[in-house]
Amino acid sequence: MDKSMRGKAAIVGAATFGCGEAPGFTDMELLARAARMAVEDAGLTMADIDGLCTASASATMWAMPVIEYLGIRPTYVDGTMIGGSSFIAHLLPAMRALEAGQCSAVLVCYGSAQRSAKFGRREIVASRRFLDPQPYEMPYQPMLPPSAYALAASRHMYEFGTTREQLAHVAVAARAWAAKNPEAFVRDPLSVDDVLSARMISDPLSVRDCCLVTDGGGAYVLVSAERARDMPNKPVYVLGNGTAIYNRQISCMPELTTTAAFTSGQQAYAMAGMGPDQVDVVQLYDAFTINTILFLEDLGFCKKGEGGPFVASGAIAPGGDLPVNTNGGGLSCVHPGMYGIFATIEAVRQLRGDCGERQLGGLETALVHGNGGTLSSQSTAILGLESTL
């Protein structure tokens, strides 16, 4: 891993818009509102944006309509689409483009009206059968994505004795954080029993083990570290980033209980010259409760197989030793199809000290981890304040 890029770029603006329910808005409108606010937050105007990273779960050529809509003329474009981890995986290539002088201000942006859209989930699932076929899984009618994560959870329970109660603690911790976040979509109390007794979706996962379906837009702005020092916000430096993919389909995952986060994490840690013990706050893609357990293990916050007892100890909840998903995560805050950008934005807000009631003290570093597909793509980033450079 090339350590020379460590800290060479910083996130200097970030914004969300329409998180939760935003009826009457399109994907593009949510993206554009968030993008404009993020650029403004950075103290820039759209005319300053000459790099664009974006992805859509439906439009394959999404960068083009975004460029057209925003009225920008980027000299650097990354439309890499590897699911919800895309907006974290966009970091390192953008850093290289900034370092090479190909561009000077990169806008990373996303928007989805998944909850309110008239072209709904049923239609999207039906069209994917043709546009993105998985002919060796589809005949068995797994409910994707939940069934894929359920299969991994079943294996984790079998190999390590992980329980449904332990999975439920992930959802309960996320909800406790959401209660402190006015932007979170669901904030009412949630107990372990509530999760266990909720409607089953794909065993061992109940509906409360599954992320929300919301609307929302998110965006952030990345510039060189040198330029970041003269900008209005406290820069959030990118210390490390790594991306890894082993498989697309759950049936082709080499080991159901070890994700490619193991590799992406190693790459990000190596670039940052840090280990998990130096991470102050963790934001990771909790599409399902098993994700949090798998990623905490694969990223080295606990040993493989010990994620269940770790989360059940209260470690990741408010007041615990390792704050995880302080916005409420995809489980309780926001999940418009792809969550990665929202995890990144929450890490930026925590490091900048913008988090109100849920603000943590003494933060210097944050780890952001994104997942895409069905435990398929994994991207890890380590962010830090100036003191970590």
Binding site: Y136, P142, M200, I201, S202, Q249
Partner: protein
């Protein structure tokens, strides 16, 4: 079936075999490992020559879920990942028992029905 002059790709060839009631996997001429799902090259060693072979049909449930579905739509059903004795894993469904009776480690045996591969629990010895 991987001859470049062959008139079809491996997916179509395997589909046609299934429609005739034959379940095939591949075996690589380079590293001799078995491959599933069928590919035009070996994902283990990159070799381009793979033979279609009939697996023995015996397997073990590796991971399991019960997909919940309204009774009116047919009710709950099983989706499993099955490890075949040849060393490949595939998604399928275990039939002949209720979904909650399908457990990891269960021995199963393959059959072809309606053009797809399904599995039945092996009777206790």
């Amino acid at each position: 079936m991987n001859d470049i002059s062959a008139p079809m790709g491996v997916q179509e060839a395997f589909d046609q075999a299934l429609k005739q009631g034959r379940f095939l996997v591949q075996q690589c001429d380079g590293c001799h490992r078995h491959v599933y799902f069928p590919r035009e090259l070996c994902p283990h060693c990159g070799h381009g020559s793979l033979q279609a072979v009939e697996p023995c049909g015996r397997g073990t449930v590796h991971a399991v879920t019960t997909v919940r579905r309204k009774p009116a739509d047919g009710g709950d059903f099983n989706v499993s990942l099955i490890d075949l004795e040849e060393g490949v894993r595939m998604m399928s469904r275990v039939e002949g028992v209720t979904p909650d009776q399908v457990v990891i480690g269960m021995k199963v045996t393959a059959r072809v029905a309606d053009g797809i591969v399904l599995f039945d629990a092996v009777e206790a010895q």
